[in-house]
């Protein structure tokens, strides 16, 4: 197992380098640049600005300089759009915010989703099954950009219970609505995959044996069924987590949390090359780490899986 982990970590580094290369080339091929503006810059001024940010050098040199800075000082460069900020500062201010509400949303979605899924599987094909499944689905079927305004209308405008947005260091009142809006999107997929996976496991021989031995249902579920049923759920959870981080754009925009999801889209639209690269590397690293975690968990759950 240790060997496996080390091998994967070793491969991770060239993987990230390839990600950097690919993204770099891709973003430079998109039309427009960070300094394309309505008020056009006189050509001399534009030339100066490009020189200041190193954009006048050939692409291969730019990548070289960039990688060197990242590897030696962890310096992701200055933002091209926000003239007084560096990418490190932008990520440092946004990432913790997204992680906080992302983790809460993840917890919320997992607990409720798995419970609903198990419940639905147990009451398979009864009206309770349909009820549980529908509940999970309704929440996820309302898109973020409908859920968010509805939440604000309800809790801020009519009831005046919660502030309509902001973060202010992450006090609880500011976390609630973003978490609800984000978690409900993933609730359904977690619940449904749990349900179908649980159904398959419940029909397998070893469960039948356990039942015939007279073990109580609860025991069977917790001690025998849950672990093997979790396999596809895990994959989905792993993907959901990264998705929650990168897909939180609408949450950030709507609730003015200052999180990093917003940057992901805005940087692309602004052609803010260094922020794009910084965020891509971040997401790439997260994806790799999470996939590794998920695969380790696979092996723990199903001892027959060998690497």
């Amino acid at each position: 197992m240790l060997n496996f982990i080390l091998r994967r970590l070793a491969i991770a580094i060239p993987t990230i380098l390839v990600i950097i290369l690919f993204s770099f080339l891709l973003m430079h091929s998109a039309p427009g640049g960070p300094f394309t503006a309505e008020r056009k810059l006189p050509p001399e001024v534009l030339a100066n600005i490009e020189k200041k940010y190193g954009l006048d050098k050939p692409l291969y040199q730019q990548i070289g300089v960039y990688v060197k800075n990242v590897v030696t000082d962890f310096d992701f460069g200055p933002s091209f759009k926000y003239k007084n900020l560096t990418v490190n500062e932008i990520i440092a201010s946004g990432f913790p915010v997204t992680i906080v509400y992302g983790l809460w949303a993840f917890l919320f979605a997992t607990l409720i989703g798995v419970s609903l899924g198990v419940f639905a599987a147990l009451k398979h094909n009864t009206w309770l099954d349909y009820l549980a499944t529908s509940t999970a689905i309704i929440g996820s079927v309302l898109p973020n950009f409908v859920m968010a305004p509805l939440l604000v209308l309800l809790f801020t405008v009519y009831l005046n219970w919660l502030p309509g947005g902001g973060w202010q260091g992450g006090q609880w009142q500011f976390i609630i609505m973003p978490v609800i809006a984000l978690a409900t999107s993933y609730l359904a997929s977690i619940a449904r995959i749990t349900r179908s996976s649980m159904l398959e496991v419940l029909n397998s021989n070893f469960i039948r044996t356990a039942k015939s031995k007279g073990l109580p249902t609860q025991y069977i579920i917790l001690h025998h069924a849950l672990k093997p049923a979790m396999l596809p759920v895990l994959t989905s959870l792993g993907l959901s987590f990264v998705g929650m981080v990168t897909g939180s754009v609408i949450i950030d925009q709507y609730f003015s949390t200052g999180g990093i999801g917003q940057h992901f889209v805005n940087a692309a639209l602004n052609r803010d090359y260094s922020v794009i690269m910084g965020v891509t590397i971040l997401v790439g690293t997260l994806t790799i780490v999470f996939n590794l975690l998920v695969e380790i968990l696979y092996a723990w759950i199903d001892p027959r899986i060998r690497y």
Binding site: V18, S29, A30, V146, P149, L153, A188, A268, L269
Partner: protein
């Protein structure tokens, strides 16, 4: 002494006359079980009705989907409300265009995006994931690392580039969205394959000399079909949502065409303006279709699981 030949002859005739018992294939079994699932059946009917609506609906409307009703334009709250007399059965959108026709148009586009995109994702993802999981070792590693890389690349760029290089056609959107979603599918299938390949029947197949590719197609794929189907039915709504997010950024379906996502987006902005129909009608179609896909997916999963009797 022979037994009465005629009686034996008659018996023999009877036996050969009676119809051969038709074997029931597993697929027929599955179909039978599917139709017994009430929720799935109702959903199938609902979905067919929606598709029918999308095809035939335009015949019943005096307005087309891009015509502006100049009279309604200035005062949507009153003049744009749903009514039979004005011919705006679902009311109008914020610009005075007939919502009924636009919802139909949106249904056509969204269903196509969802179905075609999911189809691409399923086919590519399943084959890729099953091959990777089955072959294992370094090939698996390489294939999955490629997936990692592709997943980490900001999909915004890929979309902008696709739109710019190939123009703003609908097909580009289908392909673009489909190509981005097969990645998740392949990971899930690979996971399932990993646990499947250690089962006894695969061992048996290898032992009897079945070629790897045949094992993948004839043994692995049908057994992961349950998860594939469930996941695919989750993909369809996901595609439709992705499409609306893209429209949000100005990269989606070009005006005057529209999609559910675009309509819901516009409707969500006007919640407070007394024009709720602009949100409710497209949302109704959206939710109903998604629910139908979910229940059909569940029905299929139940039907295809050989152990669930």
């Amino acid at each position: 002494m022979y037994v009465d030949n005629k009686k034996v002859q008659d018996l023999a005739d009877n036996l050969s006359d009676s119809n051969e018992i038709e074997g029931r294939s597993l697929w027929q079994d599955a179909r039978h079980r599917f139709f017994k699932n009430k929720a799935a059946l109702v959903s199938l009917i609902t979905l067919s009705l929606i598709v029918l609506f999308a095809l035939v609906g335009p015949q019943f409307s005096p307005w087309d989907y891009e015509e502006i009703d100049w009279d309604a334009m200035g005062d949507i709250q009153t003049m744009g409300a749903p009514s039979f007399s004005s011919g705006h059965y679902f009311g109008t959108d914020d610009l005075g265009r007939d919502l009924y026709s636009r919802v139909i148009q949106g249904t056509q586009i969204s269903l196509m995006v969802g179905l075609i995109g999911s189809f691409i994702a399923v086919v590519v993802g399943t084959l890729y994931g099953a091959v990777a999981g089955y072959l294992g070792g370094r090939i698996d590693s390489a294939m999955m690392r490629t997936v990692d890389i592709l997943m980490a690349i900001p999909f915004m760029f890929v979309l902008i580039l696709l739109m710019v290089m190939f123009g703003r056609s609908i097909y580009m959107i289908f392909i673009g969205i489909g190509l981005l979603s097969w990645l998740e599918m392949s990971r899930i299938i690979r996971g399932q394959t990993l646990s499947l390949k250690n089962k006894e029947f695969i061992e048996a197949a290898i032992a009897t000399g079945v070629k790897p590719f045949t094992i993948v197609t004839r043994h692995i794929v049908p057994n992961v079909l349950g998860i594939v189907v469930v996941y695919a039915t989750l993909l369809v709504p996901g595609m439709i949502m992705t499409e609306s997010f893209i429209s949000f950024l100005g990269l989606g379906v070009q005006e005057p065409q529209t999609s559910w996502g675009a309509l819901i987006n516009e409707g969500a902005r006007t919640i407070q303006n007394g024009t709720l129909w602009q949100l409710l009608f497209p949302l109704f179609f959206f939710i109903t279709t998604l629910l139908s896909f979910f229940f059909i997916g569940d029905g299929l999963r139940d039907a295809l699981d050989p152990k669930d009797r």
